[in-house]
Every structure is written in structure tokens, then in C-alpha cells.
């Protein structure tokens, strides 16, 4: 809301207050000051001066040296570059120390070797609207030495954000009332004529009393619609409103003066009685913004007996019914519309006006007729004419406030004893409340937000200020939660991954349909398992991600475009899905996703470039989970090749895959882009570290190497399976250290491969003899031959 400081000054003496004081006052009253705009001349040190002499500057063609009379008893020498003046003109002179807009201050200086004690100013240089080129020539009757600001209007425009619970502040009177209470200064009384009420029988019919409990109108005949007088135009312009005509301007003025929206109809356009009725379903309303709105029975229309819609009640007037140049007789509406009704209509039609803004927050019911009276007075003043003796009114002015109890004990507890009851009561009194018996307080009609004890406490706390409340540093002890444990585990995993050279990402959890092809959820999705938002902002954010990988893929694509070479990313967070084709709804779980692509090793003087492959990602998972045996089990998944289930020990912990070649090409990603999505809940349980320390072996181990030849298609996992099944008690490890193939078939048939393993044997109780190791090893080789038909080289 825009507030003019001059306008505020008509309600409250703010002359002695600096902008900073007003800013602080409002800020700590709970009104956010979003902007402060100063209009007109700010500095007192810009004075009227007469140019007495102007001679050519000795060292500069374009400058003159002037002697000016600034009313100081002696002349002042100022160097000036303007050309539009003549000797004898009166112009603004900024004396040394004058602060000009743009934040610079005038000083004394030498200009090209000639002393200059101030500055002669153009209009734009002192904060006035741009005038003609050169100095601002002041009228001949300007008084030499007087501040120029006295000759021009100056004002301060405050842009204020009022919280939704304080509709009473949405006017200059309301804001002044609040400031008066805070400053402990009186408000300048506001005189509004008393209005006489008359029965509206046959002239106004309200058929929607629930949304319009009170409606009034007064007829004014013989008005002359024309431009508003200067003062009224200036008031509206001072808060950024465009003057339209005297009638409309008066209603706008009253709205911003008192906070009560009014509406003036051209009486000639109203046929018969005014009918306040619910709109018909599907009824079209042509508003004065020249847009058409489709309404329903929940919306309130002001219409006439013919059924023609004159206005969308409390929101906007109709295109046809408004005041125009030819209007001679008006009906001035002043009503109380309920916030709920207006809010519904305003939201549905997306129509927001200064009027709906106030009605939907709640206007002061007791102010409706005062506003009408003020408007009538001003219309008669500016447009002439004659008003009816009485206002036609239907319904009751609602009473929205009731006495509220202030519980002194509770107040003391909440404030930590920082305010005495008498002081608290004084605050409430300043805010317009009245003390009744038994701790009850009567609340003024404009403060319908004060309904409960706690509402009074809020007022006291707000005015008292938290600065005046002590700080207490204490709190109850509470046990750590399961969420604490999960968080700690997640941080361990995160730190491990960062130390392993992986960058943590954060992506948007809403993804596009197109991105769904990159999803690799732990369990494949069925129709109905995807959760979509109803009204997406754009097609990029439609689906709740069932997998984190699409986000990481998009991040990788963006980085490739920026020439990033190594793509190593992880993200932890929630994924969302239904299950069983939508039978189980809204499941949220937490995953860890990894993406490895591009360089595993960059080129340097010390090393060759190496592209990351599947084994980099697998190794990363092994390093992350350390003491877990990580195994991959191939399983087809849509959109990926080489896809596998990932097991740690005997638990399924996630899925792995390489992005399908066509998709990688489409995205311009490296051909070998590998991803994995892991179940975070399971991972958290795997990082608890050692439970019980194993004794170190006391006896030496012996190793035996074996190179076995087998079909190239046999998976390594088959070898591991046979070794595991054989369960040699002396064997403590078996490591694959070489895989050899020869596609040319020269050294080894092309469909065969040679796999070399190193077997390590040890007994925990004694040193093994060489022949014991040999015997165990031979049994192991025999088992491999039997199990897989391998031959040894």
C-alpha cells in the first residue's frame, strides 16, 4: 500500500519526525516498509539566488564565472556551464553542504583554476521533474536567500506491506491512528457529517444477506462531471493513482483516506430498484476493465430491476454503469461485503482491485456510513448538485468485536515478567481499547482481529517490543530421534562420497515426462505408480520423481555443455511413487543416486587420460560401503544397458545401469554414462563400522596363483560361485588379478578367455606346510574344473 507522508500529515502531526523515525516506528509496529521515495527538494541549503554578473571563464570556453546574491550580504562566486539564463535571473543555488539527489554533497572547489563556492542548479539536479535545458529559472518574485523547497511541493511516498490481520491499516486515517498510538500523540479530529438513514423499501432489495449484510446508497442529483480540483488530483497522484473525474476521484480518495471502498453508479443507467443478488450460474459480467467474467451463484452482483448487472459487488464496477462525462445524477453505494464472499469471487475471477483487497481483509463496519458522508460532502464540493436528505439502507451493520479478557497471569508468563500490568493496559488503551470490569476489554470496531486473550498479548508484545524482553538461554533435554540417527548416517555417506571425488547435487523433485525415460527406480514402475501434480507450472515439472537419476542426468548434460570433463555426481533425497499399479498411494522413501561418466583420470604430465567405465562406479560403491561385498546381478531395465541389481552381502540394495546408447547420443553425454540408485534406508545400516575387532592373524599366509581358461561368455560371478560353494576352510581370499582375451585368436582362441586368480591360504592356529597348501590348492582347482570345466595354463 502506498502512503503519502503529506496526506498522513492531515491526520497527525508528523512534522518533527524524520523519515528514519517513521520507518523504524512502522517496522516495529509490524508494518514492513518496502520502499521510501522522496519527492521534491529535500535540502534546506538550496536557496533562491539572483545572478548579478556573469563573465567568461579565463581558462574554459564553455564556462562562465558568475557572482550571485544568495541573500548572504555579500556575493558568492560560482562557475557555471549553463547558457539559458541572463543576468538578473533568479535560480536555485546549492550552497556548500547541500545534499543533492544521487547522494552527493556540494563543496567549495576550484574549477579550471577559478574558485567556485556552490552550484547553480537545473530542475532535475534538485529532484524536480525534468524542465528546460539549463538552470531552473525561478519566478521574479522569488525571495532571495529562501530555501527553494518552499516554492515546490515535496512529499515522501512510503510503500508499505500490511499483514493480512491488519485491514484497519489500509488507509491514511488507519495508519495515522496506529502511528498516533505508538507516538502517544493525538490524532487530528476528522469531522464527517451525520447521515440520516431512510428505509429503502422498494428502492434497494438485498437478496444475498449472507455476503452483503448491509447495503446503502444515496442519490445525488445535478452533478457536473469534470476534472477534479488540484488538491484532489494531487492527493491521488501522490500515491500513484491517476485522476479520472471528480466523482470517481472522490470515491478513490475516500477509499485511501478511510479504507472504505465506495462505488458511484450513473443513476440514469439504473432501472428501478437496486437488487443485490447472487449471480446466476454461467452469468457473464462485463467489467469496466473491458473483460468478461463468467460467474456462479457464489458471486455477488449489484444489479437493477431489469436484471442488468451494474457491478461485481465489492470487486469491480460494470463497463456500462459507471460515471461518465454525461452523467448528471449518481447513486453512491456504501456497503459491508463479507471477506469470505469477496475473497472467493476475487480469487475465482482473478480480479483484484483496491476495493476487493480491503473487503476481503475486512473493512470497519462502523466506518461504512462515515465514508459515505465524507464522499457526499466532497462530491457536493467538487461536482455541485444536491444530495437526498437521507441514505437508503438495507440490513444491519454487523458487530464483529466483543469484549476480550486479558489474563494477567498468562501475560506475565508469556512476556517473562518483562512488562508491568499497568504498562500493558496503557498500551491497550492507546490502541483504542477500553477497560471494562473483570479484566474484560472492549475492542474498537476496526480491530476485528482482536478476539482472544492471545490477540491482546500480541498487541502488548508488539508495542512493548522484543527489545524490551529479556533473553533466556535454557531448554528441556530431549532424547535423540531415529531421524537424528538417519541424518548422521547420511552425513557419513555424503562425506565419504565427497572424499571419493564425487560432487553432491541438488535437483528439483518435480521432473518432466520426457525425463521419466531416465528414471531407474529400485523397483520397476507400473501404470498408476507415477504421481503427477494436478496443475503443473510447466511441462518441465509435472511428475514427482520416482528416481533421482533423471535429475543427475540433466545435471550431467548441463555440465557437458560447459565442457566439464569428469562427471561424478551424487544426490540424496526423497523419491515418490505409488505401488502395485497405484494401489498403495504416495510412498515416500529416500535414495542415494550416483552418476559417473567422462574422465576417471585427467591427462597430466604424470598420467594418461582415462575414461570412466562400469568398474569405476562399482569400485565407488565398494569404497562407499567398505566392508560389504558388492555384487552385480544382471537384470534388464528399460532405458538402460548392462543393467544389474546391486547386492551388498545378501541384501539387494539398488540398481545399476548404463544409459542406453541412443539416449546418450540424444543427450550428447559420453557413451559410457553409468548410474546407480541405492536404497538409503539400507545403506544407513551398513556404515555403523566395526562391531567387534577381529584378532590379527598370528601365522603367515601362503599364496598360489592359477590362470584358468574358460569360455569368454562365462561371467566372473560363476567362478566366484564355485569358489564359495567349495568352501575350502584354509582359503582366506581369492582375487581376480588378470583377465586376458585375444580377439585375433593367436595366443588364445577368440571365444575363450584366461582369468588369473590369486588364492591365499592360512590356518589361524599354526603355520601351514607347503604340501598342505598345495593339497588345498589342488582341491580348489579340481573344484573349478569340475564346476566350470576350466583348464589351467
Amino acid at each position: 500500500m502506498n502512503v503519502s507522508l503529506n496526506w498522513l500529515g492531515t491526520h497527525l502531526d508528523v512534522a518533527g519526525k524524520s523519515i528514519k523515525e517513521i520507518d523504524d516506528l512502522l517496522t516495529f509496529a509490524g508494518v514492513e516498509v518496502e520502499g521510501i521515495e522522496t519527492k521534491g527538494i529535500a535540502s534546506e541549503k538550496i536557496v533562491v539566488a539572483q545572478i548579478m554578473e556573469a563573465v567568461q571563464h579565463p581558462n574554459a570556453d564553455k564556462l562562465k564565472v558568475t557572482q550571485v546574491d544568495a541573500g548572504e550580504g555579500s556575493l558568492r562566486q560560482i562557475v557555471c556551464g549553463a547558457k539559458n539564463y541572463k543576468v538578473g535571473d533568479k535560480v536555485p543555488c546549492a550552497l556548500p553542504g547541500a545534499a543533492l539527489p544521487g547522494g552527493f554533497t556540494i563543496g567549495e572547489a576550484k574549477m579550471r583554476g577559478v574558485e567556485s563556492k556552490g552550484m547553480l542548479c537545473a530542475a532535475s539536479e534538485i529532484g524536480l521533474p525534468e524542465g528546460e535545458d539549463g538552470l531552473l529559472i525561478l519566478p521574479e518574485d522569488a525571495v532571495i536567500g529562501r530555501p527553494v523547497k518552499e516554492m515546490f511541493d515535496s512529499d515522501v511516498l512510503l510503500e508499505l506491506e500490511v499483514t493480512p490481520n491488519r485491514p484497519d491499516l489500509l488507509s491514511h486515517r488507519g495508519m495515522a491512528r496506529e502511528l498516533a498510538a505508538l507516538l502517544k500523540t493525538p490524532l487530528i479530529p476528522l469531522e464527517t457529517p451525520e447521515e440520516k438513514l431512510a428505509s429503502a423499501e422498494g428502492k434497494i432489495r438485498v437478496e444475498a444477506t449472507d455476503t452483503c449484510p448491509f447495503y446503502s446508497a444515496i442519490r445525488i442529483r445535478g452533478v457536473e462531471v469534470k476534472d477534479s480540483p488540484a488538491w484532489l488530483k494531487q492527493r491521488l497522484e501522490s500515491i500513484g493513482l491517476k485522476p479520472i473525474n471528480n466523482i470517481v476521484d472522490v470515491t478513490n480518495f475516500v477509499l485511501h483516506e478511510l479504507g472504505q471502498p465506495l462505488h458511484a453508479f450513473d443513476a440514469a443507467k439504473v432501472s428501478g430498484a437496486i437488487v443485490v443478488r447472487p449471480a446466476k450460474d454461467g452469468e457473464i459480467f462485463h467489467a469496466l476493465d473491458d473483460e468478461k467474467y463468467e460467474l456462479s451463484g457464489e458471486d455477488l452482483l449489484i444489479s437493477d430491476e431489469s436484471g442488468a448487472a451494474l457491478a461485481l459487488g465489492g470487486v469491480m464496477g460494470g463497463l456500462e454503469s459507471g460515471v461518465s462525462a454525461s452523467t448528471t445524477e449518481i447513486l453512491l453505494e456504501a456497503a459491508y461485503f463479507t471477506p469470505q464472499g469477496i475473497r472467493r469471487t476475487s480469487r475465482k475471477t482473478a480480479l483484484m482491485s483496491d476495493s476487493s483487497y480491503r473487503f476481503e481483509r475486512g473493512v470497519d463496519p462502523a466506518g461504512v456510513l462515515k465514508a459515505s458522508a465524507l464522499a457526499v460532502k466532497l462530491i457536493l464540493e467538487t461536482a455541485g448538485g444536491e444530495a437526498d436528505a437521507a441514505v437508503l439502507a438495507v440490513g444491519e451493520i454487523p458487530v464483529l468485536t466483543q469484549p476480550v479478557v486479558l489474563d494477567a497471569k498468562k501475560l506475565d508468563q508469556l512476556m517473562g515478567g518483562s512488562i508491568a500490568l499497568a504498562e500493558a493496559e496503557e498500551i491497550l488503551t492507546r490502541l483504542g481499547l477500553t477497560k471494562l470490569a473483570d479484566g474484560q476489554w472492549s475492542v474498537p470496531s476496526f480491530r476485528a482481529d482482536l478476539q482472544r486473550h492471545i490477540d491482546l498479548v500480541e498487541e502488548i508484545a508488539r508495542v512493548h517490543g522484543l527489545d524490551n524482553v529479556p533473553s533466556r538461554f535454557a531448554g528441556a533435554f530431549v532424547p535423540a530421534s531415529a531421524v537424528d540417527a538417519a541424518y548422521d548416517a547420511d552425513m557419513v555417506l555424503r562425506r565419504r562420497l565427497a572424499a571419493l571425488g564425487v560432487f553432491e547435487c541438488q535437483t528439483i523433485k518435480l521432473i518432466s515426462d520426457a525425463q521419466m525415460q531416465d528414471a531407474l527406480p529400485l523397483r520397476p514402475l507400473q501404470d498408476g505408480d507415477v504421481i503427477r501434480v494436478k496443475l503443473p507450472l510447466s511441462e518441465d515439472h509435472v511428475v514427482m520423481r520416482p528416481s533421482i537419476i533423471p535429475g543427475l542426468v540433466a545435471s550431467a548434460v548441463r555440465n557437458v555443455r560447459q565442457q566439464a570433463k569428469a562427471l561424478r555426481f551424487f544426490e540424496m533425497g526423497r523419491v515418490f511413487r505409488n505401488a502395485g499399479g497405484g494401489k498403495a498411494k504416495d510412498q515416500e522413501s529416500e535414495n542415494l543416486a550416483l552418476l559417473v561418466s567422462g574422465n576417471a583420470q585427467s591427462a597430466a604430465w604424470s598420467q594418461k587420460e582415462r575414461a570412466a567405465d562400469l568398474y569405476d562406479l562399482k569400485g565407488l560403491i565398494s569404497a562407499l560401503l567398505r566392508n560389504q561385498a558388492i555384487q552385480f546381478f544382471p537384470r534388464d531395465r528399460d532405458g538402460f544397458v548392462l543393467s544389474c541389481d546391486i547386492k551388498a552381502g545378501d541384501q539387494n540394495i539398488g540398481v545399476f545401469g548404463r544409459i542406453a546408447p541412443t539416449r546418450a547420443r540424444e543427450l550428447d553425454l559420453p557413451a559410457e554414462t553409468h548410474v546407480a540408485e541405492l536404497d538409503l534406508a539400507k545403506l544407513r545400516k551398513m556404515i555403523s563400522g566395526v562391531q567387534h575387532v577381529e584378532d590379527l592373524p598370528q601365522f603367515p599366509a601362503s599364496t598360489r596363483d592359477a590362470a584358468m581358461e574358460l569360455a569368454a561368455t562365462t561371467a566372473n560371478a560363476e567362478i566366484e560361485k564355485v569358489i564359495a560353494k567349495h568352501a575350502e576352510p584354509l582359503l582366506i581370499s581369492a582375487e581376480c588379478f588378470d583377465v586376458f582375451t585375444d580377439p585375433s585368436g593367436e595366443k588364445l582362441a577368440a571365444d575363450r578367455k584366461s582369468v588369473a586368480y590369486r588364492f591365499t591360504y592360512r590356518d589361524s592356529g599354526r603355520t601351514l606346510k607347503s604340501d598342505e597348501v598345495d593339497a588345498a590348492h589342488q582341491k580348489m582347482l579340481a573344484a573349478l574344473t569340475k564346476g566350470l570345466g576350466v583348464s589351467f595354463r
Binding site: 508468563q413 500480541e458 533473553s471 565427497a498 560432487f503
Partner: protein, 338 residues
């Protein structure tokens, strides 16, 4: 014999001195002192020396052995010194080190962890709740009127099921109080969603940190002390903190909190960092109604709640000008947080 010994000694010393490496030196040692070395063989001849000369020859032999051994040792030291020095040739310590891949935690993780560590030190435990919420937990129980603008389909993401994406982590307050009993002292970091177009200052998915403390005799001084302490731990012990009255449906009185910070190259200014307030009794009433008990009787317990935007804290902390940097994951950006 004496001449023979002198000759052996002279030759041995010459050979030792001529040795160019440790191998030649070893050869020289074997040739003189080895089993079949010249001095060893000469020493064996002592049995043929006349008895009266034996002592003198023996002395000579010993002296020769001592001198040759000493020469061997000093030559070995000299050769090793040369070899050690040669081993350093060609090593240029000014060449760059071998590249080792480094990663980093996301700035949001870092600021969130910092906040969590401070608050846990202050005795808060973590809590969470679903992101796909119902209107009850997101709005109704938080004293939000049925026609509050935040409930609008234009401002909040809804699903066909009628559920919605939580617009704030305050829903976790409700989730927690439904199952706990006072004292409740929790913080809940998490995502929240608003139907905002993504631009330099807005994300449709953003990150918040919620806090709630409910117990007997929790008061405004508790709220003030807790948040002052937290913000000073986060931004520096001398940071100025101010509380501006504000309005939230679920707290009363409510405040917004500003801290005075100096952004590089600018004058210090007040920057809004959090919202807070005393839990509105209506929230407790709604909890009790749901629980069908009186665990959060507003006549017995009071509480305060606070919430802050973590994305915003990260932007303030590191001078991040565009919030989208936090979701784009550009490595050039992420690297700066390594």
C-alpha cells in the same frame, strides 16, 4: 713377506680408490679380503715365517687389513653419497602433483549441517514428515483459514487425490505433536513447495528448517534467547539481531527476524532470515482434538516455533546472486565449496 704385504696393500688401496661404483668396490674387497683374496692368502703364509719375525709380520698384516678395511668403508660412504645425489637428478619438485579427484558437499548441505549442529548443541532433536501432505497437516491444524490464499491451486501444488505438496515444513510441527508429549524440542529440515515460477530469487521447490519447542513455561524470552543465540553462532557472535512484529496464522505473537550483515562492498544492512512466534493456542487445541487427549493443554504448556529458508541462508552466507545456481549443479560452482 714384508714387501709382499706392502705391495698387496698398495695395490688394494689403488684399486679401492679407482672403484667407480659399489660393485667395483665389492670386487676389490673380495680380491683382497675374500676367502681367496690376496691378503687372506698372504696371511695364510704366516705359518712359514720364522718364529722371531712372526710378531712383526702379524702386526704388518693387521695394519694392512685395518687400513684396507677403513679405505673400503670410507670409499663406500663416498660412493653412496654420490649415488644418493645422482638419484635426485631430474626430479623437479616444481612440477604439479598427480591429480586426485576431489568432490564436495553441496552448499545447501553445508549450511544445513552447520545450522543443525548448532541447534543440536542447543538440545534440539531432528524430526521429519511427508512432503506429500494433506490439507489438515499443512493448513487446518496450523490455524489457516479455509479461504487463505496459500490454499489456492495457483499457489500450491495439488494432486487428484486432494493431497498437496507441503508449502512449508511447519506441517512437521503437527506430525510431531500428534505422537509426542511435551517437552517437544525438535528441528525439521526439509523441502517445501510453492507454485512459483523459477527465477533468480524463486524456486518451486526450496528448503526450510523448522523448529518447535513446547514445554511448561516456554515464553518470549525463550524464543528470543534461542534464536539470538542460534543466529549469532551462525553469523558471528557480535551479529546484531532484531525481531520485527509480523503475522503468521499459526503463531501469536509472530515476528520476522533480521540480522545486520555486511555484504562485501556494501554498507551493513538488515537482512530478513527467519520467521518465528509463540505457538497459537488454536494449534494446540487442534492437536488435542486429533489426539483425543489433553497432552498439549494451552493452559499448561506454551511453545515457540521458527522457520527459515536454507536456500536463502546459503545465498546470504556465500553471496550467491542467483538461486538457480543451487539446483543447476554446475561443477564450476560446486568446486568452490570443496
Amino acid at each position: 713377506m714384508k714387501e709382499q704385504i706392502a705391495a698387496i696393500q698398495t695395490e688394494a688401496l689403488a684399486r679401492i680408490s679407482a672403484a667407480e661404483d659399489e660393485r667395483m668396490l665389492e670386487d676389490a674387497r673380495v680380491a683382497v679380503l675374500g676367502k681367496k683374496g690376496s691378503l687372506t692368502l698372504a696371511a695364510a703364509g704366516i705359518k712359514d715365517v720364522p718364529k722371531e719375525e712372526k710378531a712383526a709380520v702379524g702386526q704388518l698384516l693387521n695394519a694392512a687389513r685395518t687400513e684396507i678395511t677403513a679405505a673400503l668403508e670410507s670409499k663406500q660412504l663416498a660412493l653412496r653419497e654420490i649415488a644418493d645425489r645422482a638419484a635426485l637428478a631430474g626430479i623437479d619438485p616444481t612440477l604439479p602433483g598427480r591429480p586426485i579427484l576431489t568432490g564436495a558437499l553441496h552448499p545447501l548441505t553445508q549450511i544445513r549441517d552447520e545450522a543443525i549442529r548448532i541447534l543440536r548443541r542447543m538440545g534440539f532433536a531432528l524430526a521429519d514428515g511427508p512432503e506429500i501432505e494433506d490439507e489438515f497437516h499443512c493448513f487446518d491444524a496450523l490455524n489457516t483459514p479455509a479461504d487463505h490464499p496459500a490454499r489456492n491451486e495457483k499457489d500450491t501444488f495439488y494432486f487428484d487425490s486432494g493431497k498437496l505438496l507441503r508449502t512449508h515444513t511447519s506441517s512437521v510441527q503437527i506430525r510431531t505433536m500428534e505422537s509426542a508429549t511435551p517437552p517437544v524440542r525438535i528441528i525439521a529440515p526439509g523441502s517445501a513447495y510453492r507454485r512459483d515460477e523459477i527465477d533468480a530469487t524463486h524456486l518451486s521447490v526450496f528448503n526450510q528448517l523448522e523448529g518447535l519447542y513446547v514445554a511448561e513455561d516456554v515464553s518470549l524470552p525463550d524464543l528470543k534467547g534461542t534464536l539470538e543465540y542460534f543466529l549469532r553462532e551462525l553469523f558471528g557472535t557480535s551479529t546484531e539481531v532484531r525481531f520485527r512484529p509480523h503475522f503468521f496464522p499459526f503463531t501469536e505473537p509472530s515476528f520476522e527476524i533480521d540480522v545486520k550483515l555486511q555484504v562485501k562492498g556494501q554498507a551493513p544492512r538488515w537482512i530478513e532470515v527467519a520467521g518465528c512466534g509463540m505457538v497459537d493456542p488454536a494449534v494446540f487445541d487442534s492437536i488435542n482434538k486429533g489426539r483425543k487427549d489433553d497432552a498439549f493443554n494451552p493452559d499448561k504448556v506454551t511453545g515457540f516455533a521458527f522457520g527459515m529458508g536454507l536456500d536463502r541462508l546459503a545465498m546470504i552466507r556465500w553471496g550467491i546472486k542467483d538461486i538457480r545456481l543451487l539446483i543447476e549443479n554446475d561443477v564450476r560452482f560446486l568446486k568452490q565449496f570443496a
